[in-house]
Structure formats: structure tokens, C-alpha cells
């Protein structure tokens, strides 16, 4: 149960202070993400943002599958006052606002605008095929939808949100980590949004937009966790190879590492 809606920067600041007052010493392992979420009364995505922000600041490092550790030589002076907005915080706002804007767009959209949005999706499709990305095209799609609302204030709001994301180093950093993720869900979802708009169905447009942005949140969570899972698999693989070397009777056949392997200590 989330008891407070602290921002990641509040959590980061507190952990940073704990590190600087030596409540945690250099190299010490921090509690798990789940435990930290409970302690601070925030969601796991918020803890994730805080940890990565601290990593970027050089205060912690993610070393093994199960842990985040205080850096060996954490910087003495760290400014946690001007932290950028986190991607989950931004996406939360976008879910609310872009959802409504999509609903309004569905009421007003013209055939020309549908064509034009469709062309943007085609271009995105071409890039996806080459494993290429274009944040600018993604923005053009979303702002293009906002323009269909016929409300300059709402367009301004959506553009503001996108600009905040572009200006946030933490957002860029975390989005970058999902660069190599499968592009097909996004393509499907964009298509779903456009279909709802073409059908002039406000409720469906709202839902399609919200679902899309919610999944982006999951994707970033996965992408920033993948390293830990990948590391986990590599480590287990290593261990297994070591055992197989020592016991030739054990088959070297690759085993499937179950996804249900718990990562929590």
C-alpha cells in the first residue's frame, strides 16, 4: 500500500544523506528494492528512479543480480537539489493527460489528420525494421494527436511534457536502456491508438493511449532490470560451467533458467 507520494528525488536525497552520514558505509549493500519501497512508502518504480539517479551521481552501483551497493568511493559532495524529473513520474502525468487529449482528438479528427498520423507511423515502421529509433517521430505522433484536440492550451501542455522528458538526463538515460527492446508492442499500440481515432471512439482512444503508456513504464522497468537478470543468468551459467568442469559426468547441455527464479534476497 503506497502511503505517500514522495518523488524519487525525496527518496534519493534520503539515501544520499544516509550514505554521506555513513549510516551506510562504502561498499555496503542496500536493502532490496522491495524493502526500500516499503520503508519509504513509495512504489517500486519510484525506488528504481532513485537508485538509477544515485548511480548516475556515482553514489551507488548495481553489481550483482541481487544488489545495489554503496560505491567504493562515493563523492563527498552531491547535489540532490536539482534532480531532473524521472521517467515514471513523467509517464504518470502523460497517462492522465495524453489519455484525455486522445479522447478529445477522437471527436475532432479529420481524414487528413488520420492520413498524416498514419504516415508518421509508416516512417516509424521503416526505422523499426532497421532497428533504428526516432524520438522526434514519436513526439510528432503524440503531438500530432494533441493537435487534433483543437485546443492550443492542451497542445502546449503535451509539448511541455515532452520537452521535460527531453531535458531530463534521467529520462534519457532510462529510455536509452530500453533501446534494444522489442519494437513490435509499441508499433501495435500506436496502431491501436490510430485505429481508435479513425473509429472516432473517444473511450477507446483514451484506453489505447493509457495502455500504451503503461506498457512503456513496464518496458523501462524491465530494461533497467534486465541487466540484473542477465547478470544473474550469466553468473548461474558460470557456476554451472565450473561444476561441469569438475564433474565430467554432468551434461553440458544448456539448461533453461526459469523466469520464476526469485531475485530478492
Amino acid at each position: 500500500m503506497i502511503s505517500s507520494r514522495k518523488l524519487y528525488s525525496d527518496v534519493a536525497r534520503e539515501i544520499s544523506e544516509q550514505i554521506q552520514t555513513k549510516a551506510y558505509s562504502a561498499g555496503e549493500k542496500l536493502p532490496s528494492e522491495r524493502e526500500l519501497a516499503e520503508t519509504f512508502g513509495v512504489s517500486r518504480p519510484t525506488v528504481r528512479e532513485a537508485i538509477i539517479a544515485l548511480e548516475v551521481l556515482g553514489l551507488v552501483k548495481t553489481v550483482t543480480r541481487s544488489g545495489v551497493y554503496v560505491a567504493d568511493a562515493p563523492p563527498a559532495q552531491v547535489r540532490t537539489t536539482d534532480l531532473d524529473i524521472g521517467p515514471f513520474e513523467l509517464l504518470e502525468a502523460r497517462i492522465l493527460f495524453e489519455g484525455e487529449v486522445a479522447a478529445l482528438a477522437a471527436r475532432n479528427i479529420t481524414d487528413e489528420e488520420i492520413e498524416s498520423l498514419s504516415a508518421i507511423l509508416d516512417q516509424l515502421g521503416v526505422l523499426n525494421g532497421r532497428n533504428d529509433h526516432s524520438p522526434a517521430l514519436d513526439r510528432a505522433f503524440h503531438v500530432g494527436i494533441a493537435n487534433c484536440s483543437r485546443n492550443a492550451s492542451m497542445v502546449d501542455a503535451i509539448e511541455t511534457l515532452w520537452t521535460m522528458g527531453e531535458q531530463s538526463a534521467l529520462c534519457r538515460h532510462m529510455h536509452e536502456r530500453k533501446r534494444n527492446a522489442d519494437w513490435r508492442p509499441q508499433e501495435r499500440e500506436h496502431g491501436g491508438i490510430l485505429a481508435a481515432l479513425a473509429a472516432r471512439d473517444p473511450a477507446q482512444a483514451r484506453k489505447a493511449m493509457r495502455d500504451h503508456l503503461s506498457r512503456v513504464i513496464s518496458e523501462i522497468m524491465d530494461a533497467t532490470e534486465t541487466e540484473l537478470i542477465t547478470k544473474a543468468r550469466e553468473e548461474i551459467s558460470e557456476k554451472f560451467r565450473g561444476i561441469a568442469d569438475r564433474h565430467p559426468s554432468i551434461s553440458r547441455k544448456k539448461t533453461k533458467i526459469s523466469k520464476t527464479v526469485s531475485l530478492a534476497p
Partner: protein, 249 residues
């Protein structure tokens, strides 16, 4: 429609530029402005556009047409400064209605005691009415957005309120009859109650009612102001034209 807007913009550009020159004493009081033909060449526009600009300057009280000899600067500072706000009240109103409802829903999830305390103070101020009520009105919305604990939500709401202030200031400049708009204090109290109960659906409903009432008042005032301004502009232009015709006889 677009051509009309373009033409309108051009004469505005011209009269603003001349108005600035008058403010900065490039043209001093009692100076004669360059003749129409020269101004047309200078600004690269048609003579009708220059005439429009002259009428606007006359309406603003900056220049006067003197019988036979041309247009003279009469006053240095324009009595009315016409700002064209970037965003218009109907758009702002619709955006507030939609976005603030979402913000309220989020705020109701886990508002902090400080947020609730601040809102209680504001509701009291609004109940009393009086001079500080308009500040309290704006602050109420800002603090609900703050209680959502999302910097992006806060930024969007704050921008909307700023845009609204700009639009209202422009309206007030041209029409000092405008009064600040409020909803009845019970509407604010209901939003507060929903936040205290941590009830997001109730918060959304209450905020919807509050903003709807507010927006209705704002738009009524805007409509009245527009009618007054349009009449005034029309009469000024009519009078200026009649003076011209009389002067040319």
C-alpha cells in the same frame, strides 16, 4: 479566414511599431508622421494597411489627424496597452476542466498533511470572501496540483493558470469592468473533503463541479467583455471615419 487574420496582423505590426517609436521618442509629441505613401514603402505594405494603423493609433489616442496637413503625434504613452495573449480563454477553460480533474484524482491518492492544512486555510479565506479571495482561488488549484506529488502535473496546471492570468489581464486592460471569478466556497470545500477522505473518484467529481462553475463564470465575463470591447472599437472607428470625412470636405 486566414487572409483576414494575416491582414489584421500586419496592421497591428505597423501600429505597434509606430507606437513604440512614439514611446521611445523617435517621434515626439507634435511631430508630424511621415505621409501615408512613405510609411507604406517603409513597412512594405499597402496604403489601406497604413490607414488601418492610423485609425488604431487614433483610437489609442496617440495621434490625431489635423485638417489638411497630416497625422501628428499627440501623446507619448499609450493609455491602453494591447497584449494579444497566446492562449484564449475557451481553450484554457476546456484544458483546466480536463486536466485539473485528473490532477485532483491523483492528489486524493495520498495527500500530505501539509497539503490538507494549506487547503483548509484557503477554504476559510474563500468562505470569508474579501480582498485576498482571488489569490486564495488560484492557490487552491496550485496546491491540489502540488498534492498530486508529480512535478509534471504541477507544471502543466501552473502553466494553465498563468495562461489564464495573461488572458484575463489582456481582457481587463481593454475592459476594466471584469471581476475575478470564483465558484461558491462549498465547491472548494467539497474538493477538500474528498482529498481528506482519500477518495479519488469523489475528488474527480468535486473538482469537475468546481472547475465547471468557475469556467462558466469566466466565459460569461469574457463574452460580456468582448461585446463591450467590440462595441467600443466599432464606435471609435466610426467616429474616426466621420472626422476624416468631415476633414476632407
Amino acid at each position: 479566414m486566414m487572409e483576414e487574420l494575416e491582414a489584421e496582423k500586419t496592421y497591428q505590426k505597423v501600429y505597434r511599431d509606430i507606437s513604440n517609436k512614439i514611446s521611445s521618442r523617435v517621434y515626439k509629441v507634435d511631430d508630424r508622421l511621415p505621409p501615408e505613401k512613405e510609411l507604406a514603402k517603409l513597412y512594405g505594405v499597402g496604403r489601406p494597411t497604413i490607414r488601418e494603423a492610423m485609425i488604431a493609433l487614433e483610437v489609442l489616442g496617440l495621434v490625431e489627424s489635423r485638417h489638411g496637413s497630416g497625422v501628428y503625434v499627440t501623446q507619448r504613452e499609450p493609455p491602453i496597452v494591447e497584449h494579444r495573449p497566446r492562449f484564449e480563454l475557451p481553450d484554457i477553460a476546456e484544458a483546466r476542466l480536463v486536466f485539473e480533474v485528473e490532477a485532483a484524482g491523483l492528489a486524493a491518492v495520498a495527500p500530505e498533511e501539509q497539503d490538507l492544512d494549506d487547503l483548509r486555510v484557503l477554504v476559510s479565506t474563500l468562505e470569508r470572501g474579501g480582498a485576498d479571495a482571488s489569490g486564495a482561488e488560484r492557490d487552491f488549484h496550485l496546491i491540489v496540483a502540488r498534492a498530486a506529488h508529480n512535478v509534471a502535473v504541477q507544471t502543466v496546471v501552473r502553466r494553465l493558470l498563468d495562461h489564464q492570468d495573461a488572458a484575463l489581464a489582456a481582457q481587463y486592460d481593454q475592459d476594466p469592468h471584469a471581476l475575478p471569478a470564483y465558484a461558491p466556497s462549498t465547491a472548494y470545500a467539497e474538493v477538500l473533503a474528498a482529498l481528506e477522505q482519500r477518495d479519488p473518484p469523489a475528488a474527480r467529481r468535486a473538482m469537475q463541479s468546481l472547475v465547471a462553475l468557475l469556467v462558466e463564470r469566466l466565459l460569461e465575463q469574457a463574452e460580456a467583455a468582448l461585446v463591450r470591447r467590440t462595441l467600443k472599437d466599432f464606435r471609435n472607428r466610426r467616429d474616426a471615419l466621420i472626422r476624416r470625412i468631415a476633414a476632407e470636405d
